[in-house]
C-alpha cells in the first residue's frame, strides 16, 4: 500500500504544481467543441446522429415515443440512439454531458426533461456544444426558446384543453346531468393544475353536472383505488361519473367500481395507456386523451434533422413554432381502433410539414 500511495502522491503533486502554472478556462479544450450556431454549415444527411432520451422504456407511452423515433430514423436511412435515465435527474444530466462531449456538429437530440428545472442545464450544454435540441413537456415558464440558437423548439400539450375534452365527454356519457367525482394528480405539477382547470371550464358549460368531491390520488393507480372506494361509500348512488387526471388513476377507479359491483359509472382519463385503450374497447371506460407518443418521438428528431441538413434554417422557424402546444386526440369507443397500434406517417415528418399539429404558441 505504501508503494501505491507514494506513487499517487507524487503524481498528484506534479499535477498540482503544473496546475498552478496554468490558467483556468471557461470551456474544456478539445478538437470538437463545436461553435454555437453550427447551423451556418449544414451536415450531410448520413452524418447526422439522432438521439432520443426518455425516462423509462418500461413505461408503454415512453417506449412508444422511442419507437416513433426509430421509425423516423429509418425513414431517413439512419438509426436512433435510445437513451433512458430511470426518472433520475442526475443521471439524465450525466448522460447529456457525456453525449455533448462527443462529436456534436451534427448531433440531434429529442429530449424529455425529467422536470422543469432539469431543462436549463440541458439547453445550455447543447447551446455551448452546438448540438440541435428539441425538448418536450417540461420547461420553466420564464425560459425563452428564442434566446437560444441550438434549442430549436419546445413542444408541450395544453392540459386545460385535455381536462375540458374529457370533462365534456364525461358529461355527455352521463346524459348531461348528475354527480361526478374528480381524482386529481400531484397537486404541485402544472399538468395536474391545468387539467383540473379544464374540468372546471367544462363544468361551467354543463351546469347540470355537479362536482360532488375532488381529491388527489397523486397520479397513482393504487391511491386512486383507495380514494375512489372511500368516495363511493360517501356519495353512494349519487356518483354517475369519475373524472381522473390520468389513465392510471382512471384504471384504479375502475377497479374500485368493480369491487363495489357498480357498472353504471362512466370513467374518463388522460394519456391513452394500453390498459385504458383496452378498457375503452370493452366499454368499461368512456374516454381518454392521447398526445401520440410515436409522433412525439419522431417530430423532435425531424425538426433537428431538417435544421442540421440545412433544409430549414433556425431563423426561419416562426417564433410561435419555437414553443408550442401540439394537437391531442380524444379517444372514445368509436375511434379507439385507430390508436391501439399507433403508427407514424412519413408526411408528418416532412420538413415543410413539421409544425402542422400546432395549436398555437405557449402563452
Amino acid at each position: 500500500m505504501k508503494f501505491t500511495s507514494r506513487r499517487t502522491a507524487a503524481v498528484v503533486g506534479v499535477a498540482l504544481a503544473a496546475a498552478t502554472l496554468t490558467a483556468c478556462t471557461e470551456e474544456a479544450a478539445g478538437d470538437d467543441t463545436g461553435d454555437a450556431g453550427a447551423a451556418t454549415e449544414s451536415c450531410d444527411p448520413s452524418e447526422v446522429t439522432l438521439v432520443g432520451q426518455v425516462r423509462n422504456e418500461s413505461n408503454p407511452y415512453e417506449a412508444s415515443w422511442l419507437d416513433g423515433g426509430d421509425a423516423f430514423a429509418e425513414q431517413v436511412g439512419l438509426s436512433q440512439e435510445r437513451l433512458t435515465y430511470d426518472g433520475d435527474s442526475t443521471r439524465q444530466q450525466e448522460q447529456i454531458s457525456q453525449l455533448l462531449a462527443g462529436d456534436t456538429d451534427c448531433l440531434v437530440m429529442n429530449v424529455l426533461p425529467n422536470g422543469d428545472s432539469d431543462t436549463p442545464p440541458i439547453v445550455e450544454g447543447a447551446e455551448e456544444a452546438g448540438a440541435f435540441l428539441v425538448t418536450q413537456w417540461n420547461k420553466p415558464a420564464d425560459l425563452a426558446v428564442t434566446d437560444y440558437d441550438s434549442w430549436l423548439s419546445h413542444i408541450t400539450y395544453d392540459g386545460v384543453d385535455s381536462g375540458k375534452q374529457i370533462g365534456d365527454a364525461l358529461a355527455e356519457a352521463i346524459g348531461g346531468s348528475g354527480g361526478i367525482i374528480a381524482l386529481q394528480g400531484i397537486l404541485d405539477t402544472g399538468a395536474a393544475k391545468d387539467r383540473f382547470a379544464g374540468l372546471e371550464e367544462s363544468l361551467a358549460g354543463n351546469p347540470d353536472v355537479e362536482l360532488l368531491d375532488d381529491q388527489t390520488a397523486n397520479f397513482s393507480r393504487a391511491e386512486a383505488l383507495d380514494v375512489t372506494k372511500t368516495l363511493l361509500t360517501k356519495h353512494g348512488e349519487d356518483v354517475k361519473g369519475i373524472w381522473a387526471a390520468n389513465d392510471d388513476m382512471a384504471l384504479g377507479a375502475l377497479e374500485a367500481l368493480e369491487q363495489a359491483g357498480r357498472t353504471d359509472v362512466a370513467v374518463v382519463g388522460i394519456d391513452a395507456v394500453p390498459d385504458a385503450l383496452t378498457a375503452i374497447e370493452d366499454g368499461t371506460m368512456t374516454a381518454t386523451v392521447s398526445s401520440d407518443g410515436p409522433w412525439q418521438g419522431g417530430i423532435g428528431l425531424a425538426i433537428g434533422y431538417c435544421v442540421a441538413t440545412g433544409e430549414l434554417a433556425v431563423e426561419d422557424i416562426a417564433a410561435e413554432d419555437r414553443a408550442w402546444y401540439a394537437e391531442q386526440f380524444l379517444i372514445e369507443q368509436e375511434n379507439v381502433g385507430d390508436f391501439v397500434a399507433p403508427e407514424t406517417s412519413e408526411s408528418d415528418f416532412a420538413c415543410d410539414n413539421l409544425f402542422s399539429r400546432s395549436q398555437g404558441a405557449i402563452s
Partner: protein, 330 residues
C-alpha cells in the same frame, strides 16, 4: 502497511516485510480495472476515447468521488454511512435557499452544516451505542423528509451562478475544477491521515474495535470525526451538483447512494472495515462513473445496461478485493 495491527502475526516485528509481486498487483487492481474498462468501452465505440469525452467523465465523477471519499473513512472504521446521498440532497436545497442571503459564504455554510449533522450522527452512534447502519438509515429518511419540507417538495432554481462559477471552470482547458477539488479533498484527507496516528487508529478500529480500545486508541473520537468528514463531504458534493444543475432539489442526489457504496467496494476497501484507502475509492468512483455514463453512450440497450452494470461491479470487486486482508466475509 506500517500499522501495528495486522491480521497475520508478523514473523519478526523488527524487519519490514517487502510486498510480493502479487501484493503489489492487488494494490494496483482498482487502477487495472479502470484501464480494462476504458479499453473495453473504446473497443465498443472507438470515438469514446477522446480527451473531451474523458474530461466529461471526470467532471461527472467529481461529486461521486467526494461522496465516496467521505464515506470511505466511516467504512474504514468498520461502520457504514447510508445517509450521505440524502444529506447531499438536503445540501443542494440548503445551498439554493441560503445563496441569496449568504452569497460567497454559502459553500462554507453548507459544508459546515452537513459536517455538523454528520457529527451528530457520529455522536448518536457512539454514545447511544446504536449501530451505524441504523443511525444513518434513520438519518437518510429524516434528511430526505426535511429536504422535502423546507423546499416545498420541489426543485429550487439557482439564478445567481457567480458563487459556483469557479467550479465549472477548466484547469488548463482539460481538468474540470470540480474534479480538481475532489482530488484535493482526497489528497488532503489522506495526507492528514497518513502523517498522524489517525491512520493507525482508524485501521485498528476497523479491524478490531475491542483490541483498539484495549490499546487505548481514542475509538469514539475517531468515529465521530469520520462521520463529521463524511457529512462535510456530502455538503461539498452538493455544491458541485448545484454548480452543474443550476438548481437544488430534495431528491437530486438520492440515487447516488448505491453508486457511492459501489465505488468504495470496487476500489477494494473492505466493507467490514480496516483495510482500504481513499485513493482506492477514487479509482472505484471513476469505474462506477464510466459504467453509468459509458454503457448507454457506447450504445448498450437499456435493458442490458443494468445486467452488465451489476455483472461488472461484481467482477470488479472480485478483482480488487485483497483476500489476504479479509478473514470474515459478512
Amino acid at each position: 502497511m506500517s500499522t501495528p495491527v495486522v491480521t497475520k502475526p508478523a514473523p519478526d516485528a523488527a524487519t519490514v516485510a517487502r510486498p510480493t509481486v502479487g501484493q503489489r498487483l492487488t494494490a494496483f487492481m482498482p487502477v487495472i480495472a479502470l484501464v480494462v474498462l476504458l479499453a473495453a468501452l473504446t473497443v465498443a465505440d472507438p470515438s469514446f476515447l477522446t480527451q473531451s469525452s474523458l474530461t466529461a467523465v471526470v467532471r461527472t465523477a467529481a461529486p461521486l468521488v467526494v461522496l465516496a471519499a467521505g464515506a470511505t473513512l466511516v467504512v474504514l472504521c468498520g461502520g457504514i454511512d447510508l445517509s450521505i446521498a440524502a444529506l447531499c440532497s438536503l445540501g443542494t436545497v440548503l445551498f439554493a435557499m441560503w445563496l441569496p442571503d449568504l452569497g460567497g459564504l454559502t459553500l462554507l455554510a453548507v459544508v459546515a452544516a452537513t459536517g455538523a449533522i454528520g457529527a451528530l450522527q457520529g455522536l448518536a452512534h457512539v454514545f447511544l451505542r446504536i449501530p451505524s447502519f441504523i443511525v444513518t438509515l434513520g438519518g437518510m429518511s429524516i434528511f430526505g423528509a426535511v429536504a422535502l419540507v423546507i423546499s416545498d417538495a420541489g426543485p429550487i432554481r439557482v439564478v445567481d451562478r457567480e458563487a459556483t462559477h469557479w467550479l465549472t471552470l477548466y484547469l488548463a482547458g482539460v481538468l474540470p475544477m470540480a474534479f480538481v477539488v475532489a482530488l484535493l479533498v482526497v489528497a488532503v484527507v489522506w495526507t492528514v491521515q497518513r502523517f498522524t496516528p489517525l491512520d493507525s487508529w482508524i485501521r485498528a478500529t476497523g479491524y478490531s474495535e475491542s483490541a483498539a480500545r484495549l490499546a487505548s486508541a481514542p475509538v469514539d473520537r475517531v468515529k465521530v470525526a469520520a462521520f463529521t468528514v463524511s457529512g462535510a463531504c456530502a455538503g461539498l458534493a452538493a455544491v458541485m451538483l448545484v454548480s452543474r444543475n443550476f438548481s437544488g432539489s430534495p431528491t437530486m442526489a438520492d440515487n447516488l447512494l448505491l453508486p457511492a457504496v459501489a465505488a468504495i467496494v470496487v476500489g477494494g476497501t473492505a466493507i467490514t472495515g480496516g483495510h482500504g484507502s481513499l485513493w482506492r475509492s477514487l479509482a472505484g468512483a471513476l469505474v462506477v462513473t464510466l459504467l453509468r455514463v459509458g454503457l448507454p453512450i457506447v450504445g448498450v440497450p437499456s435493458a442490458y445496461e443494468q445486467i452488465l452494470y451489476g455483472a461488472i461491479i461484481v467482477a470488479a470487486v472480485a478483482l480488487t478485493l485483497d483476500r489476504s486482508k479479509l478473514l470474515i466475509i459478512k
